[in-house]
């Protein structure tokens, strides 16, 4: 079902639930994986994904249709991730590197994370990046979004995003070169 059709059905109280169910089914995986790559643990990603869709439910009527629906969803999910990570840092009184270390340890110990050694190392390398740079990298490298779309999601200029991604790739390649 096209986004436009979903929004039209959502505007009608009789078909609102059906339309929202279609929206969740269409975008749940994109939202979940976007969040999961940021917070690493499944339980956290599960909670945040539900929170994102609850916010979508409450605010979809205010959604301006001049923007793309999926970029709006990405923006909500991104904000949820950043809020979660910053509260995690405050809660444990940890500097950024310690949260990154904690998440890296989960990559080694978690039973629902598996892959080649180089793939796991890539995930740990990503945790060395600042949160926003990691977001840019994930959206460009894994989700293959255009810079213009990422710009709309993060509210950052395309030039700054290109520079951030280029720098992230260099940092990751340096990390992966090390044995």
């Amino acid at each position: 079902m096209e986004d436009k059709e979903i929004l039209e059905k959502f505007a009608n109280p009789d078909s609102r639930n059906l339309a929202f169910n279609q929206l969740v089914r269409k975008y749940q995986q994109k939202v979940y994986w976007h969040i999961r790559k940021m917070v690493i643990e499944h339980e956290d990603a599960d909670d945040l994904t539900q929170e994102v869709f609850l916010k979508v439910w409450k605010n979809l009527e205010n959604f301006r249709q001049d923007a793309q629906l999926y970029t709006w969803l990405y923006r909500i999910a991104t904000n949820e991730c950043l809020t979660f990570l910053s509260s995690k840092k405050r809660k444990f009184f940890l500097p950024i590197n310690d949260v990154a270390t904690e998440l890296a340890e989960k990559i080694d110990s978690s039973t629902d994370i598996s892959g080649d050694e180089i793939q796991l190392k890539l995930q740990k390398a990503l945790l060395k990046l600042p949160d926003k740079q990691r977001l840019v990298f994930n959206m460009k490298y894994y989700d293959e979004l255009k810079y213009e779309e990422i710009s709309e999601i993060l509210g950052t200029s395309v030039g700054a995003l290109k520079a951030s991604y280029h720098l992230a790739v260099k940092k990751i390649e340096e990390f992966l070169k090390q044995d």
Partner: protein, 146 residues
């Protein structure tokens, strides 16, 4: 620490998702979300597009209705308040006040002529028929101009 640097390009690495989810997770997730939305109210009862169109007209309309309401309520309340005030005063108090402070003039006696047609009691007038007759003759009402 022994580190060795080798040539490495990220583009050479195949993209793989190392994270996994529990079995049937994405089949169950929509139902779990829908259960939570059933308990969550939406922010606006009026669709945003409709709201944007009507909200500009609502403010002056409300102001106009307020003025009209105040004007009509004011008109209706004013006479009621006066009658309520007079109703609270007993007839005896009114008569006492008039007999103490009021001075009778020819105009008042002229009004008395019309009051007689309204079947007012003699207690209220508080004057005997003979006295009234004498008073009327004294003022010679036929010469009085109104």
């Amino acid at each position: 620490m022994n580190t060795k640097h080798t040539d490495f390009n990220l583009s050479d690495l195949p993209k793989r998702n190392v994270y996994q989810v529990p079995e049937d997770y994405f089949d169950r997730l929509p139902m779990r979300i829908m259960e939570r939305t059933a308990a969550a109210p939406q922010h606006q009862w009026l669709p945003a597009q409709v709201w944007q169109q009507v909200r500009v007209a609502i403010a002056p309309l409300m102001l106009l209705l307020l003025f009209v309401g105040v004007f009509y309520f004011g008109l209706e309340l004013q006479p009621k308040q006066d009658s309520h005030t007079m109703a609270a005063v007993s007839d005896t108090e009114i008569v006492d006040y008039l007999s103490t402070y009021a001075t009778v003039e020819s105009n008042d006696l002229a009004e008395l002529n019309t009051l007689q047609q309204q079947e007012l009691t003699s207690e209220f007038i508080n004057v005997s028929a003979a006295d009234a007759e004498a008073e009327l003759e004294y003022y010679n009402l036929k010469d009085t101009e109104y």
